[in-house]
Assembly symmetry: C2
Homo-oligomer: 206 residues x 2
């Protein structure tokens, strides 16, 4: 894995206009790497199989990304930059419950869970994937913290709260059940986790 040659006349320049062939190839390859990862797991992920699944010639994939790790990191960066925004229901409780409920729903269904679970698993085996995952969660936590800031502005929470810490307190116990203790989560669990984090925030502890 990792052979790469010089570009040929047949290949359009990288970073071509959005919607051009280069963007379509990237789209197909980044979608394929997630699907392939969910199906076979990181240890058996290969550039050749990702290229096959994407319907893109493997030489093109090797030249552009070089290795499965680089494809995976590119896919994670694309997901990180997907413009996810915190829900805005009008109350901090409604917003935080919406976030934890989204997590419980995503990981509660086998089909929905396959790709994110495979990504969490891959982070244990690839330092590059681990770094990209960490950046993904940092971005998501930062975006979700916006709902805490709005709650503070509305006077629902004390000024001194650490917005990201409230997000961690709400989401942490859910991820812990899903990936560490492997206990079931449902919408009631999700709600309780959000309320617990808000109680701690109101008590001035986080």
């Amino acid at each position: 894995m990792g052979t790469s040659g010089p570009p040929t006349q047949l290949d359009p320049p990288l970073n071509a206009r959005p919607g051009g062939r280069s963007a379509r190839v990237r789209d197909a390859v980044l979608t394929a790497v997630y699907e392939e990862l969910a199906e076979v797991g990181y240890p058996r992920l290969t550039v050749d199989n990702v290229a096959n699944r994407a319907g893109v010639h493997k030489t093109t994939v090797y030249r552009r990304w070089g290795s499965v790790d680089v494809i995976l990191v590119d896919a994670l960066h694309r997901t990180t930059a997907d413009g996810w925004r915190a829900p805005d229901t009008g109350t901090v409780e409604g917003d935080l419950v919406a976030v934890t409920t989204e997590i419980a729903r995503t990981f509660g269904e086998a089909h929905e869970r396959a790709i994110p679970s495979a990504l969490v698993a891959a982070a244990f085996q690839s330092p590059l994937a681990a770094e990209a995952m960490s950046a993904f969660y940092a971005a998501r936590q930062h975006a979700a913290a916006e709902l805490v800031v709005r709650g503070v502005d509305r006077g629902e929470l004390p000024r001194a709260v650490d917005p990201v810490e409230v997000v961690r307190a709400a989401c942490g116990p859910l991820f812990y059940r899903i990936f560490i203790t492997r206990e079931p989560v449902d919408t009631a669990t999700a709600r309780r986790c959000a309320l617990a984090a808000l109680a701690a925030a109101r008590a001035g502890v986080i």
Copy 2:
């Protein structure tokens, strides 16, 4: 992996007296499977290498356990039954901070972290390991919940709290940082996680 023959005269009966050859072999093999796992990771774990590291003939290991998964599960069961008890400092806050601090210390140092991290990673790849890990955490949470029960008995927490849920609320955000978002944890983080869980418990939310 998985060949096994009938016992021979050279092998002592399984479940021989503690301290006998059978117990020493088990000890060596279960210690070796953790060390080997931490060193090479689950995908490259083999019965032969575990046997080599333990200094036990591989035929003996195949006959007794049959596969690396069975060795790993046996090791996890031994760890689960190690008699771990919740700390008893005299206050629920002291006890819960002691538990979260132990987690932060264990996973804060590369040397201490190697085996438990490798076990969490293995659970993503082996359903048998995942089940044994789940049983391990269920037992640990149950044992730790004792400190919440004592706190309730001393009148430090409301009668209605769910003791295991308080443990999850305290420990979840730590494991989340360590294994999902891959953010650093220290004793201040550990203390804050314990205090947040207690605030939620006092507020009657968990």
